[in-house]
Amino acid sequence: MAAANLLEFDKVSVEFEAGVLVLDQISFAVPEGQTRIILGAAGSGKTVLLKTAMGLNRTCAGRVSLLGEDITDKPENQLFDIRARVGMLFQDSALFDSMTVAQNVAYPLLNQKSIQVPRDKMEEKVRESLRFVELEHALVKYPSELSGGMRRRAAIARAVVTGPPLLLYDSPTAGLDPITAHTIMALIIKERDMDNTTALVVTHRYQDGNLVANFRYNPDSGTLDPSGDRATNTVFMVLREGRLVFEGAQTELEACSDSYVQKFVKKPEMAA
């Protein structure tokens, strides 16, 4: 039996200025358990696509279905309960400056009506989430006291604290050094493999997608191991100026002759 689609775009277009389409007729579906890597140059519409998936941007054409519900024309107050079941990591982490890390992570537990966590269990949930990203020691720190990588990890903790089935990551490694970027990607893979979550990962780095597609989290050693014959359910998408120019598996992406798509593909032998 085919897995249900957690997210579905049907000929979705978004425009901010009259006549200028930021997303142009985008169609795709994300079944449960799939990880989708979205590649594209800056300004190609990757972030807009994620925000549209969450109902943060309105469409000018097409339909968006999130967790089985059509959110295209839903008013804002009816979207909160649906959004509560989706975790999102924003490009610049978007942690609330005036709150500590613990308060930031507790925020969705306290403010999402559909999530009922008893007050006495709240701290435990927050600690558990921060332990997942190895940031338990930073409970009382403010975002301004954290490094870029730590902020990104705290934002991941906030995104996963409610245990959502679908996670949207917006450029999780942007602006990070290679070691920290690897740590963040390892956390994304860990979350996928430990909780069997579905995810959309927006990035402009092919190596991030390569890592997600070919590695699995080993809970015994706490490291990433090559997936070998246990292929991960990963699909790649490439956006160009708001249009979807490629959708397919990693092998198809590497074999694609389109010059724009080729620019994103760093073949393993070239990377070595």
Binding site: K51, E76, M88, F90, A94, L95, F96, Y107, N111, Q112
Partner: protein
């Protein structure tokens, strides 16, 4: 034809902005009676906007009252009416200067502060994060600021009026040798109920101007730190000008209907 097209295009932006402002105002007002109520945020804003503004209100009130007594005392001296200084100071302060100066000071401090805070949150995607995490930003950010300013600005105006009268009394005593009992009794008796209503209604109305304009420009900020700076300036200028315009119209209404 070309000119009318140009005018229509020119008016489109301000009209849309005005429409957005009314929508924001409507939603912020509606949230006053809707759950959830962020009482902690309201208290925090009352402390920040109200208590935090006390020092500038004290200074503004004292010096405006003092300088008014200085100039009015001189003018009244020509007619041998120095003893009426308290009356003049009290009427001008309670009806006009107290509400306007307090509102302008609070606008300078808080409309810009609100715009820069919300603008920074907007450009760093914290507003989007708030929406994604199940919170209505207007309910969480705008309504508490509107309520807090609505409660605190009339209180600050009362403080400003009183401190202004004290400033006027000190100058009257030092320069014109006014009797304290005479000054304070004239100050008290000069005021009628419509003055008090006017003196409290005006800051209540201005409080909405300050908080909503600050929030409006903050939530519209775009274009990084430069956009935040622009929003801050626009909020302060728009709030100050609107207060001065409203002051004239409210003054006219009170003169027409109460005779004061």
């Amino acid at each position: 034809m070309l000119a009318s097209g140009f005018v229509l295009e020119f008016l489109k932006g301000p009209t849309l902005a005005l429409q957005d402002f009314y929508l924001l105002t409507g939603r912020a007002m509606r949230n006053v009676v809707r759950q959830p109520h962020y009482t902690d945020d309201i208290k925090l804003q009352m402390d920040s906007i109200g208590v935090g503004s006390i020092p500038i209100v004290l200074l503004t009130g004292f010096f405006s009252g003092a300088v008014m007594a200085l100039q009015m005392g001189r003018a009244l001296q020509q007619y041998g009416q120095t003893g009426r200084t308290g009356t003049v100071v009290s009427i001008i302060l309670v009806r006009e200067l107290g509400p306007v100066l307090t509102a302008l000071m609070v606008a300078g401090r808080n409309a810009s502060g609100i715009a820069s805070e919300l603008g920074s949150m907007k450009v760093t995607e914290q507003i989007d994060a708030m929406r994604a995490l199940g919170t209505d930003p207007i309910q969480k950010l705008v309504t508490p600021r509107m309520i807090a300013t609505g409660v605190m600005l009339p209180c600050l105006t009362v403080i400003d009026d009183f401190v202004g009268m004290v400033g006027g009394w000190i100058i009257g005593k030092l320069l014109y040798d006014l009797d304290a009992l005479q000054y304070w009794s004239q100050t008290w008796h000069a005021l009628v109920w419509s003055d008090v209503v006017q003196g409290l209604l005006k800051p209540f109305v201005y409080s909405f101007v300050i908080s909503l304009i600050g929030c409006f420009y903050g939530l519209r900020a775009s274009g990084g730190t430069q956009g935040v700076g622009r929003a801050t300036t626009q909020a302060m200028v728009a709030a100050s000008v609107t207060i001065l315009i409203l002051n004239l119209f409210m003054g006219l209404i009170f003169v027409k209907y109460s005779g004061n």
